[in-house]
């Protein structure tokens, strides 16, 4: 059966891609474009999360990863670790994979999620 895959080989099967029915085929066609993009975005943030958590543990930092939503990660960070953790998080996110274009992670700090976001 036909499938599409993400940059990392995550598969999504498209059983209807050759359907003669244009409505059915339309769903599959849109999925064929959407799935690799959504899926690759998922892969990338997953790699970043694994590496960030590794680093936090390796450096025995007190900072904690607390939330993951869409393309965003949130941390609770002691003030003394802020510079180090911010640098670490942005670097691991941006370097999760080398694409033909740069990956950019934007960072905010605040007393709550609204202020930081």
């Amino acid at each position: 059966m036909g499938y599409v895959e993400t940059i990392f080989g995550r598969k999504r099967f498209l059983s209807d891609i050759n359907s003669q029915n244009s409505i059915v085929r339309g769903f599959a066609e849109r999925n064929a474009v959407n799935a690799p993009i959504q899926g690759s975005a998922a892969d990338i943030i997953k790699i970043a999360m694994i590496r960030i958590q590794d680093e936090l543990e390796k450096r025995k930092l007190k900072s904690k990863m607390t939330l993951q939503v869409h393309d965003e990660l949130n941390f609770s960070v002691p003030q003394v670790e802020l510079d180090e953790v911010r640098e670490l998080v942005v670097r691991e996110m941006e370097q999760a994979i080398a694409l033909k274009v740069p990956l950019i992670a934007e960072c905010g700090v605040g007393a709550n999620w609204l202020e930081a976001h």
Partner: protein
């Protein structure tokens, strides 16, 4: 009385296929089984309900029929047969043969001609004939002994004889159905009819003139536009009548004995259903009766076959069929044994209850001799932050498993667990499990860290078949043809509230828990090979498994919530809602309960008359869903206010008022559950709370975000990928324009606009940029070219580059 049933195969197949189109039934091999399932249900239904003495199924033949020869556009309207149907038809024929029901196919003639011919011949041989089809052209064939047997949208069937057909189309004779279709046409068969004449006009003409012949001879009695239409299309009308006429002289003999209803070929049918993974259906056909006879206390699936059989047709084509599927599967849960499937009583196994310290020591010695061990935990609940451990099960050889009950007191339990600590923390021994994150968190709450290589069968299957279910019971059925002891089975039908695992008989619990470990161990052996075979090992071992541990850490971390801020938000929003309610009453000119969809419907449609053609739901109320209201927004200011009111209400109930209740009393934090195997795209999702659904931009989303705070004395750091989807799109497509725009740090939407409108980037207007942005995101989120043109009001041709 001899009773003959004639089934129009393609008519039933199409109907079934489109009933499930939004949520097709797909088996583990990726085969779309909607059409097959629907067809078999119909056949079963007829055999069980009507007990026909004679039966046959007619198929349209491959290639052209006499109608095609006569009219080249015939059925051109109908698109080519969908792939899934083409694949399904040979299987359906196999099934019909296994039912020992004759398959009829006559070259050059359609199924309705074959059925028409046989119906007339059978009638002469003292048969009562039922033609099973939803197609209305069959109305012309009915007689005193020939009936249409039409599936109804509301479920069940209606039997239509001459009187019913006449009443339905307001005709004097059922034969006028031919003339009716000749005039009004039939889009599904591409019978053109007379342009500009619909059902109403056609009926009126027939009431006045009786037939097409008489009408065409008396066109002088017509007036105005109708007269012109009829006169100009005389030939087409006559021809349409020819196309709509079902032949009753197809060269086929009616040999009674050939159509006699016979017992099914059970082994063959079972094998076919097995291959298709129609477990519930098998169970319903063969086991329901038996289970019922042997174990009267068990609720047999036969009690509710209507769900499976009728629901297929309760839903009009293209309606989401999701609701019907859980019903089908829940039937499965009621079964004690399932057709073609083995269970604990039929498979040799050695499940050992490990009840004292000496036995535990023996087990632990064995565990340390393994490279790979499957384990599972039994607990008092599914919330890891409040549940207690009840027992542990282990397996490292197929068919051999151990269950270790744990003492109930937290301290005693922790002591026994300590004996296993070195095993769980061993880096050398691979740990196998189903949904390991749960076990990992359970053990962690007793101070035991889980280490070493891990293999989660649920996650492995998610990578292999992202769109299917991944529960162990389901995987056991698919891969091992084994029906596990289900959790509910431990409680002998007691309601959920009275299900207490601590009261379950220890031997039963041992079987249940040991079986879980055994089956998961066996699944691993299969899934491991499948991952390798599909090139998914790297993704599994280097991404998903390490991520599982990270997610567990995040869940443990939890997040602090500012309960006081939420309380204030709640007060403010509640008073906002009251304000809104007053405004709504003033705007509407009536006082009513804005929270009641029924009252909203009455106000908008009965009193304010915003839409004369307002749709009603099955229960007879007006539909006031978001879609409906969005369309009416411009018609009356009250509509927008009602939508705002609902938005506020939902926000309050799902987040503002709900979040404080999710705070764990032990930790004082909210511990979201991350789901790694839910979204088919590969993205994570979360529950309790669902973080993905928090509104992103608007005022209300802000209120929620304000309540998420860092630990005491710390700050909250938030890092977000910028335009990651567009960047991935640039990378995957290799589009030079996008790549260079990103690499030189240009605004990507402006760059796209410059390309589309062929202007220098400096001359891009904000309107051009906005449209380019919609186009960029349209591609990502999968708007069709058509949808995109519509949204942007740009002709489609401009997009073809």
């Amino acid at each position: 009385m001899k009773k003959l049933f004639l089934l129009d195969a393609y008519a039933i197949i199409y109907r079934a296929y489109y009933a499930f189109i939004r949520n097709p039934r797909v088996n583990s091999k990726g085969l779309n089984t909607s059409a097959i399932f629907g067809f078999v249900n119909t056949l079963e239904d007829v055999l069980k309900r009507e007990k026909p003495t004679h039966i046959a199924v007619a198929f349209d033949p491959k290639g052209k029929t006499f109608r095609h020869e006569a009219y080249e556009h015939y059925k051109a309207q109908r698109e080519m047969t969908p792939e899934d149907i083409r694949l399904a038809v040979p299987i359906i024929k196999e099934i019909v043969k296994a039912y020992n029901v004759p398959v009829l196919e006559v070259p050059g003639f359609e199924a309705d001609d074959v059925i028409g011919t046989l119906a007339k011949k059978a009638e002469q041989n003292d048969f009562e004939v039922y033609m099973l089809t939803p197609d209305k052209d069959y109305g012309q064939l009915v007689s005193e002994h020939i009936f249409m047997y039409r599936p109804k949208h509301s479920g069940g069937y209606e039997v239509m004889g001459s009187d019913e057909v006449k009443a339905k189309y307001e005709l004097d004779s059922h034969e006028q159905v031919i003339d009716l279709l000749g005039l009004m046409g039939d889009s599904s068969d591409n019978i053109p009819g007379c342009p500009g004449v619909g059902e109403k006009t056609a009926v009126k003409l027939l009431q006045e003139f009786g037939s097409i012949d008489n009408l065409l001879n008396n066109t002088d009695k017509l007036k105005g536009a109708l007269k012109t239409k009829i006169e100009q299309n005389k030939e087409q009308i006559v021809f349409s009548r020819f196309l709509a006429t079902i032949k009753t002289d197809v060269p086929i003999e009616f040999e009674e004995e050939r159509y006699l209803t016979e017992p099914v070929n059970e082994p063959e049918l079972r094998a076919l259903f097995d291959e298709l993974e129609f477990r519930t259906l098998s169970a319903r056909i063969w086991n329901a009766g038996k289970a019922n006879a042997e174990k009267p206390e068990v609720k047999p699936a036969v009690n509710k076959p209507e769900h499976g059989q009728m629901s297929l047709f309760d839903i009009p084509a293209s309606v989401n069929a999701q609701e019907t599927q859980p019903d089908l599967f829940s039937q499965l849960q009621d079964m004690q044994t399932v057709a073609g499937m083995r269970n604990i009583h039929e498979v040799s196994h050695h499940y050992v209850l490990v009840s004292d310290k000496a036995q535990r020591a023996g087990l632990i010695t064995k565990l340390f001799n393994q490279k790979s061990v499957c384990f599972d935990t039994e607990t008092t609940g599914i919330d890891v932050f409040t549940a207690d451990l009840v027992g542990l099960s282990f397996c490292f050889t197929t068919g051999e498993a151990y269950y270790v009950p744990l003492p109930t007191g937290r301290e005693e339990c922790t002591l026994v667990l300590k004996e296993f600590k070195a095993f769980f923390q061993s880096e050398q021994i691979e740990k196998i499990g189903q949904n390991i994150k749960f076990d990992l968190l359970m053990l962690a709450s007793y101070g035991i860290e889980l280490r070493g290589k891990m293999f989660d069968t649920m996650i492995a299957h998610y990578l292999l078949q992202p769109e299917l279910r991944h529960g162990m019971d389901y995987l056991a059925e698919i891969y091992l043809k084994y029906r596990t002891i289900h959790y509910e089975d431990l409680f002998g039908g007691k309601p959920k509230t009275q299900q207490n695992i601590l009261n379950v008989d220890l031997n039963l619990l041992c079987d249940y828990a040991a079986e879980d470990a055994d089956i998961t161990f066996q699944l691993k052996q299969i899934l491991e090979k499948e991952l390798k075979h599909n090139g998914l090992e790297k993704l599994f071992y280097e991404m998903e498994m390490p991520l599982m541990r990270v997610l567990a850490v995040m869940e443990q971390n939890g997040v602090k919530i500012d309960i006081e801020a939420l309380r204030q938000s709640s007060l403010i929003l509640t008073s906002d809602m009251q304000e809104l309610e007053k405004e709504i009453h003033t705007l509407a000119g009536y006082e009513f309960n804005v929270s009641s969809p029924m009252q909203v419907g009455e106000i908008l449609f009965d009193r304010l008359k915003l839409d004369e053609k307002a749709k009603k739901t099955k229960t007879g109320q007006y539909s006031t869903s978001e879609d409906v209201l969005e369309k009416l927004r411009s018609k009356h200011p009250v509509v927008g206010k009602i939508l705002d009111y609902r938005g506020l209400k939902k926000l309050l109930s799902t987040y503002i008022d709900a979040l404080p209740q999710l705070v764990n009393p032990k930790t004082g934090k909210v511990h979201t559950t991350y789901n790694q195997t839910v979204a088919a795209t590969g993205r994570l999702s979360s529950t309790n709370p669902n973080l993905q659904n928090i509104p992103v931009r608007d005022e209300l989303g802000r209120e929620i975000r304000k309540a998420f705070i860092p630990e005491e004395g710390e700050v909250l750091l938030s890092a977000d990928y910028s335009q990651i989807e567009l960047r991935i799109m640039a990378h995957l497509s290799g589009d030079a324009n996008m790549i260079s725009a990103f690499n030189s740090g240009y605004d990507i939407h402006a760059a796209t606009a410059a390309k589309i409108y062929k202007v220098p980037i400096e001359e891009v207007t904000s309107d051009m940029r906005r449209k380019a942005k919609t186009a960029n995101f349209g591609i990502i989120y999968g708007i069709s070219t058509f949808g995109l043109s519509e949204r942007l009001n740009i002709p489609r041709e401009n997009w073809v580059t």
